[in-house]
């Protein structure tokens, strides 16, 4: 299951939901807001999500992972709203009988989440500027024409 939430992510509580006496391996991934990106000093990040489609697309990703690597439990939570440096923006947890599947499924989920979910990230820089990540040309027309 994938959840989009404005609330603080609690990785410890989330991993407990993946406990299973048949699981010998757990792999967890967390994306933290860091203080640098593309050479700029980052103060905070703002995440915007279109939740209905983020959730349904996230469900597809987790089903794909479970099909590729059977017998796993997987869960993902993505934050929205304003986050400070050090905050957890996304958490993925996978438990499975063996570690190979746990690592591969966890990696698959975060890789797909980053490119498929309708979620956007606006960086606020120390110098007062801000910008949408991966959207360099979104405003090219605006700058040139508008």
């Amino acid at each position: 299951m994938l959840v989009v939430t404005p609330d603080t992510i609690d990785p410890d509580a989330l991993r407990r939901r993946l406990f299973d006496n048949a699981a010998g391996a757990y792999c967890g991934f967390e994306g933290w807001v860091r203080n640098r990106n593309d050479g700029q000093d980052v103060l905070r990040l703002e995440y915007e999500a279109y939740a209905p489609l983020a959730v349904s697309e996230g469900e597809k990703i987790i089903v794909e992972a479970a099909t590729k690597y059977p017998h796993l439990h997987a869960h993902c939570v993505h934050r929205t709203g304003m986050l400070e440096v050090g905050d957890c923006a996304v958490w993925v947890g996978v438990s499975s009988p063996h570690r190979d599947e746990a690592f591969l499924a966890c990696r698959y989920i975060i890789d797909e989440v980053k490119v498929r979910l309708p979620i956007w990230k606006k960086e606020y820089y120390v110098d007062g500027d801000s910008g949408w990540v991966n959207c360099e040309r979104c405003t090219a027309h605006a700058h040139t024409v508008g």
Binding site: E48, C135, C138
Partner: protein, 80 residues
């Protein structure tokens, strides 16, 4: 002519100044809607970098649009 509801997200919404608007258009595909609204969302991103949904289903830019559809225009995503 069709009536299409267009929803803008993130950078597109900021640029358009509205999150949603109604469009009278002869657009045949989702891609046509993107191009017809370029003056609104102000983006020169290639379509391949952006995503689109019609009536809350992810789809392709070639997907046909019908009268009454809601087209969601997604700028390049950046989750995680």
């Amino acid at each position: 002519m069709k009536t299409i509801t267009v929803r803008y997200f993130a950078m597109f919404r900021e640029r358009a100044g509205v999150s949603s608007e109604s469009l009278r258009t002869d657009a045949a595909t989702a891609g046509d809607v993107f191009r017809a609204t370029r003056a609104r969302h102000g983006s020169s991103e290639p379509l391949a970098h952006c995503k689109v949904a019609i009536n809350d289903e992810m789809t392709d830019w070639d997907a046909p649009v019908s009268d009454g559809d809601t087209v969601l225009l997604f700028p390049p995503v950046a989750g995680g």
